[in-house]
Amino acid sequence: MNMIVCVKQVVDPETPAAAFKIDPEAKRAVASKDRPLVISPFDEQAVEAALRVKDAQGGKVTILSLGGESAKDVVKHSMAMGADAGVLLTDPAFDDSDSFATAAVLAEAIKKIGEYDIVFCGRQEADWDAGQVGSGIAELLGIPSVTPIKKIEIKDGKAVVERVVEDGYEVIEVSLPVLVTVSNELGEPRYATLKGIMAAAKKQLINWSSQDIGAVPAKSKMLKLFIPVHEARCEFIEGETPEEAGVNLAVRLREAKLL
């Protein structure tokens, strides 16, 4: 199995709301100094999904990321988890890509990488939450897609996947090559071991720029980005002891006709 996993470096989504800042001019979030950029969580699960297929069948896992220089960290991290190779697409010409441009550049890079049976993406990025780059890549490559999934196995030359839906999941059989997007129901991603980290240092990391992969113009425009304001309105219920506070809460909710 030849597998490609698309991963992106993002502002830590666990940043508390109070520490979350944006630059409204540049229209993007500003990472806080004590919170380093991270691999987008669903993308880490996508790497895990690929490694599980590799564990079961053997194969090669290539990591692909579009981002700034620092994005090499998330490629290295994925290689330390067990991926075999990495490709980083960096160029100022790729900045300000919308979903269309992002998918188009990634699809071109996948074609340039060459052989693939399964392409993995996350179900959505933790920054823009666009949730469309995976399906877009599949359409541009002309391969089927299943989104979002929690399990994938290869049987008789086909993929059997479990697609997460509102009231449960569907078992879907789909031909290869295929693109899937991975959801958190897959389970925890593995840790990068010390051995993995040392091995990753020796693995190949290719850099491509817009010279290798042409940049694509965006189809849409961001008019503005802002932080909605909520008025704080919380009425705190107190008590001498926690037990008493619990009782007082019930009484207050009853008064408010909520019980």
């Binding site: 508390p16 979350f20 469309q132 997460v164 569907e170 849409s220 008019l223 909520h230 705190f236």
Partner: protein, 333 residues
């Protein structure tokens, strides 16, 4: 490109009935169509579609296309995208809207790329720019920490998916007239590369989370599957349903389908009680529409207090049993 006209919404059924998201799509669709001074169409795809077409008309549609064929018994990306590609090319709508549902979030991006246009998923507001008539699409980003507004000057139709419960449906008007039109996309079956082998439904005990009027949510601080039993008991006496943040689902304390938030269920009950959860933006994305929000957390700085109406700071293990007993007493009295 200048030829595109009108608004098309993609309808859905839920247990054979018109889904509530579809009524909401018809509501916003009607408004946009009126602002454009053009028509509103809806399309239903499936097999053995019951009489929802008429209902869609009473909820605002001028035309309803019905694509009914055994090929569409199950939702499969290739067949549904293929059918809508044909309809969209045939009807050339200016605006095409879907619901942010299991179907819509898979279908919309693939269809947009097929049609060579842009889409914005999970929108909470849509307005037409009064001058340019372009659709301005507002969408929560960064897990709900911020809001972005997008427009697409190029590519038609302008596409979006709408977050459930973000839009108001119209009052049903049985005197409204409209046209029901069967549509045959003449799809080549060999273009469908996937098939649904099995559908596994998670068992729902008691009231469905999305429909419940009272929702009790537990977070990571609850600590174990056993401790969730107390939340279930509370839900029972308040006639509500139990939900959770992601960590309890990931840890297997509760089933995955109880997750409330950006990538889980959307709830907007009359009463929401959040216990031992911090109120991350991603969780808030699924519950901030609740009419009354109660938070119990031992950390007075927890984010959840920023949107709560009533809060108690303290250890839930001590607080909750007393709260539960008092509720029982008040409700039996």
């Amino acid at each position: 490109m200048a030829e595109n006209k009108g608004v098309l919404i993609v309808g859905e059924l839920s247990d054979g009935k018109l889904a509530s998201i579809t009524a909401e799509l018809l509501g916003i669709g009607r408004k946009l169509a009126d602002d454009l001074d053009e028509g509103l169409s809806a399309v239903f795809i499936g097999n053995g579609i019951t009489d929802v077409a008429g209902e869609a008309i009473t909820l605002g549609a001028d035309k309803v296309y019905v694509i009914d064929d055994p090929l569409f018994k199950d939702y499969v990306t290739d067949s549904y995208v293929g059918a809508l590609e044909k309809l969209s090319n045939d009807q050339a709508p200016e605006i095409l809207l879907l619901g942010q549902t299991s179907m819509g979030r898979d279908l919309a991006p693939r269809l947009a790329f097929r049609l060579g246009t842009a889409v914005t998923l999970d929108c909470v507001d849509l307005v037409l720019d009064p001058d340019t008539k372009l659709l301005q699409k507002s969408k929560p980003v960064y897990g709900g920490n911020a809001m972005a507004v997008y427009v697409s000057e190029e590519g038609r139709p302008q596409m979006a998916t709408i977050r459930p419960k973000a839009m108001e449906p119209l009052e049903q008007d049985v005197s409204r007239k409209g046209e029901v039109i069967p549509f045959d996309p003449a799809l080549d079956e060999s273009a469908v590369r996937a098939r649904v082998v099995e559908k596994v439904k998670e068992e729902v005990v008691g009231i469905k989370l999305e429909d419940a009027d009272v929702v009790i949510c537990g977070g990571r601080g609850i600590g174990s599957a056993e401790a969730f039993e107390q939340l279930k008991e509370l839900a029972k006496i308040l006639n509500g349903a139990v939900g959770a943040t992601r960590p309890p689902c990931d840890s297997g304390w509760v089933p995955a389908h109880l997750q409330v938030g950006l990538t889980g269920k959307l709830v907007s009950p009359t009463l929401y009680i959040g216990i031992a959860l911090s109120g991350s933006s991603q969780h808030q994305a699924g519950m901030s529409g609740s009419k009354n929000i109660v938070a119990i957390n031992k950390d007075p700085e927890a984010n959840i207090f920023g949107i709560a109406h009533y809060g108690v700071v303290g250890d839930y293990k001590k607080l909750l049993p007393a709260f539960l007993e008092k509720c029982k007493e008040l409700l039996s009295g």
